[in-house]
Symmetry: D2
Subunit: 366 residues, 4 copies
């Protein structure tokens, strides 16, 4: 298996011109695109429609190239977006291609990727143990396909359903109880359940520890490599597992670290070094050129207090705390990597210990 | 002369409880307070009234302690505020006290401070060469008082008038022409003229280079240590000059650097080292504890392009570009210093070359 | 008793120049100022400090005029502010003076005002039945002082405490349970409890109906004339009762109506007519000049659906729903009254039936 | 000619389900769709991508139904969108169908519509007299096609190009000067030039009055029925002319009025009555049901002063003035019509006298 990593700039959320050019230039075979993870420039909130526009634009392009429908294109490739390019963060997408199966094409011990989907969930299942189990099973399938042990996994991106007003009404009509009747609050359960699914599959949490009452509640249960989001546009979970595998022939390696807070430059360096980059203070120009992608979560500090000092993140009625957090962390990461095309998203339930957040980096081998 | 540096947290823009406690505890003699530079948590725009509230709170406290009026207190101490605590930036004020005159109390070669005021300006003088000359004269007076040469100056904070609708109308009524009839646009002229005044006094720009047409226009003329702002609440300029002086007995030193952009961590380290801190990658805990204050400007990159990549700063209709820039830079500086109580403000006309910005740091001697 | 009503424009939240001029001109006797209700131009959220600035400015002026402290001035006059001047709403304050006691100075059957305060509440009492009872007692005292029956009351403005992080911590330290540990959520309990207090005193709700579990929950219990707010800066409740009284000699009358939604112009006309204005479609110029003040609440429609159509109020992550609602209602009221200096605030728990909101108007007698 | 008017709600900017249903139900023949004018729920600024998403969704649906490409569908039907659903404004689109040519199908003297396109413009032509002339010629062609005189025209919607950074660079590369190098500022020229084109064609302004220097400058030259916008996505102008014509067999009539400011309810009533609705104070339920569509512009008052009172529209750094203005006007119009699906957009250069704005209404005949 050989994984291609293409970080592409976007002039607007509907701009797929760089992807189109790589396809036209035969650099990317559209049939080999398995996933894309990107940042769009909306506000990241409930009324951020830039993700929908970007999904539509990429799916339309792949559909036209492959002679299939937009829906079929969306089912072939996992398209994950996070809205909100605050501070220096630059709108972009990282497109992943995969050629061959595990073990084919030689071995570099490098980057391997597996995309899995769970079954569809009814509204009353969202944010509950059934979803945890289904995600865990999907991650386990990926480990098998990639021929890797849990400790070789460095990043698992999961996108799953949340509770919409329509879903809540549907459950009520059938006499079923949902985990919460507040659509916004359901995000925490939805992100939390899928993160716990990752944790269970990777042995970070024992299956018997996951009862209904711990989801979005006992934050001492967590995965250090999960990065999960929830959206109203899907009813199953898309699971993208990234690992280094002896069955991979890719020229990239992936690594990860933990961000103690949004100003923790140490966590950034940790992820880059874990991916194989060697440097003292900062990576040099040549080393920076080898950084192919960075994926992180940003979180407001507990009580808004960063290292003992008050921030305004949680009291600001004009700008949401996720926007503050992404802006700060994006500056910190760019100060190390030099490239602001970084995937930073919000919401860290069961992803690292409370107040902390995961970061992963993909680096071209030297 | 001995300068005291007190960085104080604020629970809200009217909170002076930490200053009151230091006065009650006899740590600060209110009669020795010469200046305060702080960040408040408004939006930093025309409708940010947190600066006014903070000014009023500090002046009221000093007035009560000294038995004078609020207006007299405001005239005794230069009170400079910048609105906007984005990302991790923490609301605070740094209070400067001064004991004794230059040369009194021994010599450490450390931090010296001089506060000067210019004459009052008519609206038609704002942003023009007369203001440049007056600020230059004020800085020159400060050099004399501090017994320092220009290259020992590391930071000059200037706050001067801008053109308000009332001022524009007043000039029109007297048949005088103002530099611009757009109050918002006048900020650039006002900040630019005072920065050029600093540059002239410090020999960074020759006096004959400063003609009316270069102000806010020829950005290759600049000071590397000026940090200027403009507000509608005053008609003269407050000039605070910070230098290291053989005539100082302070236990602090000041240094400065240049930020190439808002993700330039190198400029942050440069300022800290210039102030006397020695460290490899990052300052350690003990060194961090010696950092008394950091002052910087944040600027959007030209065309919104940071290191060749598009940011959304200039196209975002929800969040102003200064807020994006401050949030990113605040994260970067905090990642080095560990303390988010940093003074970062916007607007860099004639303060460093285009796209770049000044940064200064005060460090307690080891 | 004679009540004076002075609607004063403000150039900024600290501007009390119109009030100062009326005092200087002997139009207002500062010793007779009993209350002020105003709108300031912040965002109306947790980080809106324009209310604090305005309170300080008015209290400082009254203190200087009366030779008392700021705190004493704040205790003499009830100063209520709502942040958020969206759309056409104009920053202003309406100052109320009172001369003589009930029955003194003849009778017009016009406007009477009584300002009452409750005892101070511990955090664990906020939003609970004890607060309901205390507010009810305060309103009952006002009825007695004004010599009016409940149905002569047209508007009761209440400002009470909410739960701050500090208050929640204090209760926890003493082993006491608060109604909610979420400061934002506590607003609903705080506004709801005080509104129910008004309802009980006016006979709109029976005392035995008010149990802990109905507060901020059973919205079919309500007062049609309460307008309540909650803030972290006080621990008791300020209650301002407005009625028409045979014991009043004021040249004004007050009336009220109910707004079915934020576009309900019928409710606006209802309040004006109830206060004594006669007009067909719109009040004419002369009638408009007689409108002295308008006070209303604005509420997002249930589910964001206005008359069957979707609004974006509840899904907008950039602008809070209260701001949307105030902007729309401010336009509607101004289209009738012609003067945008209208008090419109948000949060209608137990103030009119769900989705509806109170509106009151004071009109000079013809 | 028979014009169909279909006001359709949208659950999100990509939602065309109501249009699809009407096509499926044979209520709308997709081949007869000539134009759509709608409001989407973005911020209305440079980073509002909801218009692009809506355009794509409608064009994709028409393309699929007609078996043509998206681009061909966009060329067949003029699709005009304005971003920003503030206050009560409800996201929607009004779809116009046209059956038969002028004079066919009998005569009601009712609504007639003509869609015209100008030639494409080079960047250096945008906002200049050549564009004025081309728009005037397009409107004149429409008058001929509709067989109406100028005074029977009640509403002309024009969407034309603005200057993008790319266009400005292109002109510079060819040594051509553009009207302004500031993309945001170009909106005023672009909207102004197309509005003057309408004014010239309708005899409201004499052709010889339109010189380069009056565009976006002499606001006493205007059309009372133009409603123009500018976007970076097109290089020609789409012109949609609405009139009442003896050659029309439509069951609708159109009328217009002038809004003196955003709280001017009189202008709203004027437009409805001009379209044929008779009512005293407010239209009743039956009359309201006959209102098919309302189109208006919203403008901040000069200096932010509404009827002598200060608004915060022009000083608010959090919410743009167009958003304040639309929110207020949307409330006022809805208070009369009862349906918040109203088209309100911003930017009134040469559209009504300064500070005023056009409003048009389409009403089903009684």
């Amino acid at each position: 298996m050989r994984v291609g990593v293409h970080r592409l700039s976007m002039a607007n959320p509907g701009d797929v011109s760089e992807l189109r050019k790589l396809i036209d230039d035969k650099v990317i075979d559209p049939a080999e695109v398995v996933a894309s993870i990107g940042k769009t420039e909306g506000n990241g909130g409930a009324n951020d429609f830039t993700r929908a526009l970007a999904t539509r634009a990429v799916a339309d392009l792949l559909a036209a190239e492959l002679g299939i429908t937009r829906e079929e294109a969306g089912a072939r490739a996992a398209l994950a977006w996070s809205g909100g390019c605050e501070g220096v963060l630059s709108p972009h997408m990282t497109v992943f291609t995969r050629t061959g199966a595990s073990g084919e094409g030689g071995s570099t011990g490098g980057l391997a990727i597996s995309v899995q989907r769970t079954r569809h969930f009814l509204p009353e299942e969202v944010g509950r143990t059934g979803e945890v189990a289904a995600v865990a099973a999907a991650v386990t399938r990926a480990l098998g396909e990639l021929r890797v042990a849990a400790d070789e996994v460095h990043y698992v991106q999961v996108k799953g359903p949340l509770l919409t007003p329509a879903g809540i009404a549907d459950a009520a009509a059938r006499g079923k109880e949902v985990v919460t009747t507040d659509p916004n609050r359901s995000k925490a359960y939805a992100r939390g359940a899928t993160a716990l699914g990752v944790a269970v599959a990777l042995g970070e949490v024992a299956p018997e520890q996951v009862t209904e009452d711990v989801i979005a509640a006992d934050m001492n249960l967590y995965s250090a490599v999960a990065n999960t989001s929830a959206g109203g546009e899907l009813t199953d979970c898309e699971v993208i597992v990234f690992a280094n595998s002896p069955a991979s022939a890719s020229p990239y390696r992936i690594g990860h670290g933990i961000l103690r807070d949004v100003a923790d430059v140490g966590g950034v360096r940790e992820a880059l070094r874990d991916a194989g980059l060697s440097f003292d203070t900062d990576p040099g120009e040549e080393q920076r050129a080898r950084i192919a992608a960075v994926f992180a979560k940003a979180e407001a500090p507990a009580g808004g207090m960063l290292r003992g000092h008050r921030t305004t993140m949680l009291s600001d009625a004009d700008i949401g705390y996720e926007r503050h957090a992404r802006a700060a962390l994006g500056g910190v990461i760019t100060s190390v990597t030099g490239d602001p095309r970084i995937f930073v998203s919000g919401g860290t339930e069961h992803q690292c210990p409370p107040g902390q957040a995961p970061i992963a980096a993909i680096v071209r081998m030297g």
